[in-house]
């Protein structure tokens, strides 16, 4: 199995498509950081100016942590696309290139092959998230100092700089799980398709549809919202709320893990019974 995963990784990193995600993250992070470096203070002052009637605001809130949080929120909508491009190509790409029949002549079960591809796709997803974390928190240090972090949610939350890193760690961990759901969905579609574009478009369509339902304030959708994974994609923000809503976090993670499991089992079911013709 480890050999299979290693081979899948070699194949993955020989394709230019794989690097698009890293390049896009690098570019977007840099653009946001430069933008915040130039205009961030003005923007934040505008948002909290009504506090200055009563308080003197002392200290610098435009720092590495606040900017990393903004980077995270800005990118979280786009990372699913980058994840789906690669995960959606994992199985369908082989079918499209006509290499499946040759591949399956090797003494490897379909289940093992699928699992190796699945693990590769999910590790790639994890690598993207870790890369985002490094870009935000490490590269950002060249632009910004450390300091207390401000988060504007329903309330204005200000965290001590010493109380921030574990929150980012947990948020990225949560984010990784949520991206595994998206990756699992694209992978599932990939087992059905014989070209790469189909699974990417299909998974994006499902994602957009579910996101609209999750964020639409219409009563008719309320009963299904708790079961949609898109309802929980932004749940990493819970780690930046006070007090911490552990019940909501556990519920969100449980539902996303259920989705990951269901998507994998469905992919396995489809692939092991698939009539491979190319």
């Amino acid at each position: 199995m480890i050999n299979l995963i290693r081979i899948e990784f070699l194949k993955l990193f020989r394709r230019g498509l794989t690097y698009i995600g890293f390049a896009a993250i690098l570019l977007i992070v840099l653009v946001i950081q430069v933008g915040m470096y130039v205009e961030g203070k003005k923007l934040l002052d505008f948002l909290i100016k009504s506090l200055s009637d009563v308080f003197l605001l002392e200290g610098n809130l435009i720092n590495i942590y606040t900017v990393s949080y903004i980077v995270l929120t800005s990118l979280w909508i786009h990372i699913p696309v980058l994840v789906a491009i690669v995960a959606g190509d994992m199985v369908s790409g082989e079918a499209g290139r006509g290499t499946f029949r040759l591949l399956l002549t090797r003494p490897v079960s379909r289940g093992k092959l699928l699992t190796a591809k699945y693990i590769t796709a999910q590790v790639y997803t994890a690598m993207l998230v870790v890369f985002l974390a490094i870009m935000s928190l490490v590269i950002g240090r060249f632009f910004f100092p450390a300091g207390d972090m401000i988060v504007l949610l329903e309330t204005i939350n200000i965290f001590d700089s010493a109380d921030v890193l574990w929150r980012f760690g947990a948020a990225y961990g949560y984010g990784m799980i949520s991206m595994w759901v998206v990756s699992g969905l694209a992978f599932l579609f990939s087992t059905r398709a014989s070209n790469s574009l189909g699974p990417v478009v299909a998974s994006m369509s499902v994602l957009i549809l579910f996101m609209i339902i999750s964020n639409f304030s219409i009563g008719i959708f309320d009963p299904i919202k708790p079961f949609l994974f898109t309802t929980y994609l932004n749940g990493w923000q819970l780690f930046f709320d006070e007090p911490l809503q552990m019940d909501a976090i556990v519920k969100a993670v449980s539902i996303m893990i259920a989705h990951i499991t269901i998507f994998y089992l469905a992919a396995w079911f489809i692939f092991t019974r698939k009539d491979i013709q190319s």
Binding site: L57, G59, I156
Partner: protein, 234 residues
């Protein structure tokens, strides 16, 4: 009949004058007491309690030098109440004003202060002055921009009338945070109170006072534009 009326008017006049003299003498006493403190520095803890702000208790250091030099220094970000910290009462009392004696209870005299300058940053202030110790226990300031601020002072065993704890209560406008800024798409949105204003409290606890020690002027001048030091302006 005329003589009775005359004595009544005379009585009222003398009582009013007496009360007015008492108000002025109390104010003068407070100014004289506060002028004994030519400078001080102290550690301060700031505990902000506003329902839409979550901020941990912040520690900092304050520096004061007579007559009006004042600085606050903290690590990280701090919300410092404009009223209550900067001994604005001292500055307020030194500005032209009229003091009116209103009443007294078991422990305090109540005096109203009305500014006599057009550019004063308050409309009226109420001072509750300790009957025995002649120091301000409580103070309420009404200002056009900030509404009402109520400050309560607690004193320790210091040889000077410097509070070791100050509680500032105030009205503050609710902030309407743009929902999409910082990607705010919380899963379980909490019901938001739509009222325009809410009340808040800030408690300032002081310790490690160093009174009338040498504080160089450069401390108040340096880093005027810095993020880590601020000059309190009112």
């Amino acid at each position: 009949m005329k003589s009775i009326s005359f004595f009544i008017i005379l009585f009222i006049f003398t009582q009013t004058t007496k009360a007015q003299n008492l108000a002025d003498s109390l104010i003068q006493h407070i100014i004289a007491s506060s002028s004994k403190v030519q400078s001080f520095s102290a550690d301060v803890e700031i505990d902000v309690d506003v329902d839409f702000i979550r901020i941990p208790v912040k520690k900092g250091k304050i520096f004061f030098k007579s007559p009006d030099k004042f600085k606050f220094r903290a690590t990280g970000f701090a919300l410092v109440p404009k009223k209550g910290l900067n001994f604005s009462m001292q500055k307020m009392l030194l500005q032209p004003h009229t003091a009116i004696y209103v009443s007294s209870d078991d422990t305090n005299h109540l005096i109203k202060i009305v500014p006599m300058t057009a550019d004063a940053d308050y409309v009226i202030a109420s001072l509750w002055i300790d009957k025995n110790l002649d120091r301000i226990n409580k103070m309420e300031v009404t200002s056009p921009r900030q509404g009402n601020s109520l400050m309560s002072f607690e004193y320790g065993n210091l040889p000077y009338d410097l509070p070791v704890s100050t509680k500032v209560s105030f009205d503050i406008a609710q902030i309407d945070i743009p929902m999409q800024f910082m990607g705010n798409m919380a899963m379980d949105k909490k019901k938001k109170d739509k009222s325009d204003k809410t009340s808040g409290n800030v408690i300032l606890n002081y310790s490690n006072f160093k009174i009338n020690g040498e504080i160089p002027d450069t401390l108040f001048e340096e880093e005027a534009a810095s993020d880590s030091l601020i000059i309190l302006e009112n």
